[in-house]
Symmetry: C2
Subunit: 407 residues, 2 copies
């Protein structure tokens, strides 16, 4: 009967993160998406402006297009008169030109008519003599209230560059140029398999000693929340053959393989064997709580993770590694959790040499430990955030000031 | 020729927000989604536990299940001997019971065998006499290393309540109970129509005086980013009939109607007329820059917004109102933008009586104004964040300390 092999030397969290991050790079695959599905994606092409935006000089105001020199000296007290020669609405081509002593009504956004070089705001004008003349009460200088033809984007420039994250305003920049499809980087793909012979799929009736599959669902949600594509392979029997086959499938389909569970040492050993046959073990065992048994292997440039089977250990350690890895692969900044100050609700002991992530509920500025046990998903689901207890601290006192990182 | 009616009295931003927020409530419609599509949704049902999780007492460790009293006094120096009577892997039903002087190997997560009340960790045991006896080097107390049958969730409790936002760990709580579909609140639906006869759909060839549709794309991205469902109705001609028809359609399909554009006073008037016929005008004109011409109407309990046509004004004011409105309708907390301190890169003038949202680029701790003009979407797309200049400030000096809210 196997009593399990000991962990190799546990590595520190920092070292573990460095080892996995040194093995992955940004995903280079691209895909083309309609502009209305591009939100939050990362642009994979430079967008060069093939036109000026706008493509014409336009009025920035509702008012009268004029020759500026015709307005010089106009004031409320001494208005001048100009002869109106038409109207330009936005989207229209002006029907004529503006000559000396003439003006033309222009709507905001309408093309500047030839001859005119400026616009007097409608507020400073008045129709007189039954609309046959227009009274002008303000002088304007050449160019006043007229917007340049490239005021937004100049032809030949590159207003969007590869690597840009597409928020609403950048989507607007692409739209301004008439671009309706965008080439974006593919999301990193993570294949997820669950192990543990006691674990059954949702919807099945449980037998004695069995539990429902939690981990493939939490890890798949985490992956999607981190901007990745989750491919759930389902549950795999704890046999060398089944695990090998599942790993091959995962590596063929995805950029990263994540296998959850196997809480027991025997199951972990099996996973270590199978993973070890496919690549280089980067670490097995991290100085972190919960989540010590994390296994990471570099399978020819693709990472495979073995996460602990206990649901809170699984999700907590999964987030710890997947967040920076998917940020790097997906070319996104890593999220910085919002942190709030609180007092610790009770004394907490920790283990020297392990960084502990202690889940807490917040109540009136007090952080109450929410951790039940690694096997209890509610240790996280009922928490508002977590306190990081550094690896060189073994005790935190009640009422001690702590920083709570919000979940 | 219309010179446009004046705005009614401009309202302050605070007053405008209060007026729209007082007219909307959380969306009550629900829908059922598979658990793997529930991330970030808001639960619409209480989930009551119909079972204990786990449903059995289990070993928290790999080790030997024993009767605690049989181990009393066991130490490294004076180990005791117990007779092994079998093995329980996780997911298995123990094949027998543990009697006096006996022990049974149990894997982590495996059912506690009858008769045993505790588990000695495998590290403190040793197989001897060819596996016929097990040496025990530590005493355990009753219950030690055995996890309660309801350690995670107790039958009859309600571990997830309606209104809970579904993150990965709460999805795990549902999975733990075998729940594979969740009833969640529907996302607020926003119908978006673009107006402005100069505005053309992406992909068409532009004629003189025409520009591409930016606003329906930026607003639809903003709505999706805020957790809403965007229905883009496309571009509508600036006629009373076409606008009326589009508004009826929008109100029939959606919880909120958003019409963009009409930059010119004449077009705005038309929209005010059409909207005014369908409901109560809450305000037309807000003391904010950019975005002054925002129009909000309560159409029998559904909000209709008229946003300015200039792209930066449109998106900026759209976010300003849609963010709190969709947060309330979608039962989500409003996002608090991350703010950083910076020095202003140059002197900026503002208008007393208008709250200004000044977009800026950040470089080495200096905030350089990025605003070009309201018509330029790049005023936002090239910005890192914005500085809020309060309505009672008309000048901010170069090098003044400012808070930049990151976009």
């Amino acid at each position: 009967m196997s009593r399990g092999r000991p962990f190799r030397a546990l590595v520190s969290l920092e070292e573990a993160l460095e080892r996995v991050l040194s093995r992955v790079g940004p995903v280079d695959r691209t895909e083309t998406v309609p502009i209305d599905e591009a939100l939050d994606r990362v642009l994979a092409q430079d967008i060069k402006a093939t036109m000026d935006v706008p493509g014409f000089e336009r009025s920035a105001m509702d008012g009268y297009a004029v020759r500026a020199e015709d307005t010089y000296g106009a004031t409320d007290m001494e208005p001048l008169m100009l002869r109106p020669v038409g109207t330009v609405h936005a989207g229209e081509v002006p029907s004529g030109t503006v000559g000396e002593g003439e003006c033309m009504y222009v709507a905001t956004g309408a093309m500047r008519p030839e001859g005119a070089d400026s616009v007097v705001m409608v507020e400073y004008t008045e129709e007189v003599d039954g609309g046959t003349m227009t009274m002008i009460r303000r002088a304007v200088h050449p160019g006043e209230n007229v917007s340049r033809r490239d005021a937004d984007i100049k032809e030949g420039t590159v207003p969007l560059r590869a690597g840009a994250r597409l928020g609403a305003s950048r989507i607007g920049t692409a739209a301004a140029l008439g671009v309706s499809e965008l080439e974006v980087y593919a999301r990193p793909v993570v294949a997820i398999a669950g192990t543990g012979n006691e674990v059954r799929p949702l919807g099945e009736e449980l037998g004695p000693g069995q539990v429902y599959d939690i981990n493939t669902h939490t890890i798949s949600a985490a992956v999607r929340g981190l901007g990745g594509t989750a491919l759930v392979l389902g549950l795999v029997r704890d046999s060398h053959e089944a695990l090998s086959e599942a790993l091959d499938k995962a590596l063929a389909m995805a950029d990263i393989a994540v296998f959850t569970g196997g809480s027991s040492v025997g199951e972990r050993d099996l996973l270590v064997d199978v993973f070890g046959e496919r690549g280089e073990v980067l670490f097995h065992g991290v100085q972190v709580k919960p989540g010590k048994p994390v296994l990471a292997v570099d399978c020819g440039g693709k990472l495979a993770f073995g996460l602990p089977g206990y649901p809170t250990s699984c999700l907590s350690s999964g987030m710890l590694f997947l967040e920076p890895v998917l940020a790097k692969m997906g070319r996104r900044p890593q999220a910085t959790p919002v942190a709030v100050e609180a007092r610790l609700g009770r004394r907490v002991v920790s283990t020297i040499g392990r960084t502990q992530f202690l889940t807490v509920r917040l109540e009136d500025g007090t952080a109450h430990p929410a951790f039940k046990e690694s096997g209890a998903i509610t240790s996280m689901a009922e928490a508002d955030g977590y306190v990081i207890i550094p690896s060189n601290v073994d005790l935190m006192d009640r009422d001690e000031q702590v920083e709570v990182h919000m979940l």
